[in-house]
């Protein structure tokens, strides 16, 4: 990646950040919303759900982190769909800027948002009683995994936005994909309480694997595995394989879709 691509991407990322300065409400889904989820789930469900080997608050955080970062894919999807609908994309296309710099600019800006989200969630967690019982190195690996997962989600979001074309449709389609994927998982309740078919879904659902990996790396309680498949039995290596695969899928598909969309 040449330096000019990174430089141009930073200039373009500043544009997204400027949008946030103009419409600060855009930030609610990376700030207020995750905060609300932590508080709601831990105090509303917390009393009713028993978790082996720790407290519900400790259990919850891994789930909320992955769920929020997954939902964060809607933001890049909406931004890029809006750009593509307006004339502004023609301006960038007529400049001597690489195609990849434009997409990378969106990625940089969204990544800042995801880092803020992770910080807010972990900070709130610490305040209400979430603790890690793992080594520094293991926690660091957990955070790195979250960052790679966030990267994958942003690129998949960009792909979705380019594919869908309209910012309104992004919300609809995004919810249909992300809602079931994050709720039918081990995010909020142990899958052992679900009907058999859903237990299978939760077990093979990569979202569960990511959540288990984060819990394991943070030294937080894991749910007992009821349906055995290799990834959920070995969450950390499986989560790394999944993240790398999703990053590659996202980056390649977003670039290809963008090229396809802007060739006329």
């Amino acid at each position: 990646m040449s330096t000019s691509v990174v430089r141009d991407a930073s200039v373009l990322a500043r544009r997204n950040l400027e949008h946030i300065r103009q419409i600060p409400e855009k930030l609610t889904n990376v700030t207020v919303q995750p905060l609300m989820f932590v508080l709601l789930f831990s105090y509303v469900f917390g009393g009713a759900i028993r978790v082996e080997g720790g407290t519900y608050k400790e259990f919850l955080l891994g789930g909320i982190l992955i769920q929020t970062l997954a939902f964060a894919m809607m933001q890049p999807a909406t931004s890029i769909a809006t750009d593509l609908q307006e004339g502004v994309i023609d301006r960038f296309r007529s400049l001597p800027t690489r195609r990849s710099a434009y997409l990378l600019g969106h990625y940089f800006a969204e990544m800042i948002g995801s880092i803020v989200t992770i910080a807010i969630l972990c900070g709130t967690g610490l305040l209400i009683g979430w603790r890690t019982s793992a080594s520094i190195l293991s926690v660091a690996q957990g955070i790195l995994l979250l960052l790679v997962f966030a990267t994958a989600m942003i690129w998949l979001g960009l792909w979705l936005g380019i594919f869908v074309r309209s910012p309104d449709a992004v919300m609809g389609i995004g919810f249909i994909i992300v809602f079931p994927a994050t709720f039918v998982s081990n995010a909020f309740v142990p899958p052992s309480s679900m009907p058999g078919a859903l237990q299978w879904f939760a077990a093979v659902n990569p979202v569960s694997v990511f959540i288990s990996a984060v819990r394991e790396l943070f030294g937080n309680p894991l749910t007992p595995v009821t349906k055995h498949v290799w990834p959920i039995d070995h969450p950390v290596p499986a989560a790394w394989i999944y993240s790398v695969a999703l990053v590659v899928l996202g980056v390649v598909s977003a670039q290809r879709q963008y090229k396809h969309r802007t060739t006329e």
Binding site: E18, Q22, D90, F92, R93, T97
Partner: protein
């Protein structure tokens, strides 16, 4: 007039071959499904001159501009801009051109100043130079007092002017303007014309499209008239006017039922077929050189036609336009559905 543009060192700008700063187009065509939006378009634009592209809605003007500015791929033909091929060397072409599209392409959620700075930075300018260049253009386009306002709150004409400023950020060798003065008030329009004349006198090559024939007449050295993607005329404004007869006679009559009779009566004076405007009750006659108005009035009188007004004038591009597109419409009545012809 301006200081030299400092470019990013890791992006050396290939210099075009000497004497090829203009635009060369050969047999350019673009097909959308069954429709040829542009066909057999060939033109050479000498550096430091202005080409005006004229045509009705849907004639193919924007299609031509989009291909030449690398935004769209030609179906056939070739084009070089500032010496570089628009398909093979698209990235290099982009360094040498400025584009103001028909639809404004500025970011509504940023101020005018930030819009221009972002563009300057993407051309590889250092921050300070991008800011200064942007501010100078805002001043030139009379936008300084709104420079920090959100572009979303701009009026249509202000947005258009900002788009023009954006197209000039890199001091382009070739400037493409797609209907640049649509939506501008008369004052902004004439100051834009002055600005373009300055740019051209400094060596900028300009290709502009317009619906306003006066604009092409004022600015263009060379004019191409497009109709349904085909080039129906090409020449200097003067050529085009003399090709269809230099002088016109507008004959305004009182009785609409006499229009055809009047047209027949006027034929002996006509260089080519007189054109009837029913709404206005006017017949426009391209007159033979040396025609005397008294003779025309007497002939009309003898034929019992009541002429309210007979006025001689120089042909305008409007006349060229009406004559040319009128002709192609009568020659190709089924153009809209070519399949039915075969």
């Amino acid at each position: 007039m301006y200081e030299t543009l400092v470019r990013d060192t890791d992006q050396p700008v290939p210099q075009p071959p000497v004497g090829s700063g203009g635009v060369h187009v050969t047999g350019l065509g673009k097909r959308f499904g069954d429709l040829w939006a542009l066909r057999n378009f060939s033109i050479t634009v000498t550096p430091g001159t202005v080409l005006g592209l004229l045509g009705h809605n849907g004639a193919g003007k924007t299609t031509a501009i989009r291909i030449l500015t690398t935004l769209s791929q030609p179906t056939e033909g070739r084009a070089t801009v500032a010496g570089f091929d628009v398909v093979r060397d698209a990235a290099t072409v982009r360094q040498h051109i400025g584009v103001a599209s028909q639809q404004a392409t500025v970011d509504g959620l940023m101020s005018a100043r930030l819009n221009l700075q972002t563009i300057g930075r993407l051309y590889g300018m250092p921050r300070r130079e991008a800011r200064e260049r942007g501010d100078a253009l805002l001043e030139q386009l009379d936008l300084t007092s709104f420079a920090d306002g959100l572009v979303r709150t701009y009026s249509g004409g202000m947005r258009r002017r900002l788009d023009l400023a954006a197209s000039l950020m890199n001091r382009p060798a070739v400037l493409f303007l797609d209907e640049p003065t649509t939506g501008l008030d008369p004052l902004s329009r004439s100051s834009l014309w002055d600005m373009l004349r300055d740019l051209v006198s400094e060596g900028t090559t300009v290709i502009l499209t317009t619906q306003y024939l006066e604009e092409a007449d004022q600015l263009a050295d060379d004019i191409v008239v497009l109709d349904h993607g085909e080039t129906v005329a090409h020449g200097t404004p003067q050529d085009l006017k003399s090709r269809i007869g230099e002088q016109r006679l507008d004959v305004h009559i009182s009785d609409i039922t006499q229009l055809v009779a009047a047209q027949q009566t006027l034929l002996p004076y006509a260089d080519s077929e007189p054109i009837i405007d029913e709404a206005e009750c006017v017949i426009t006659v391209p007159i033979k050189p040396g025609t005397r108005i008294v003779d025309v009035v007497r002939t009309l009188d003898d034929a019992g036609i009541d002429a309210i007004d007979v006025a001689r004038r120089e042909a305008t591009l409007d006349d060229v336009f009406v004559a040319l597109t009128h002709k192609t419409q009568t020659e190709r009545p089924n153009n809209a559905s070519p399949q039915e012809q075969s």
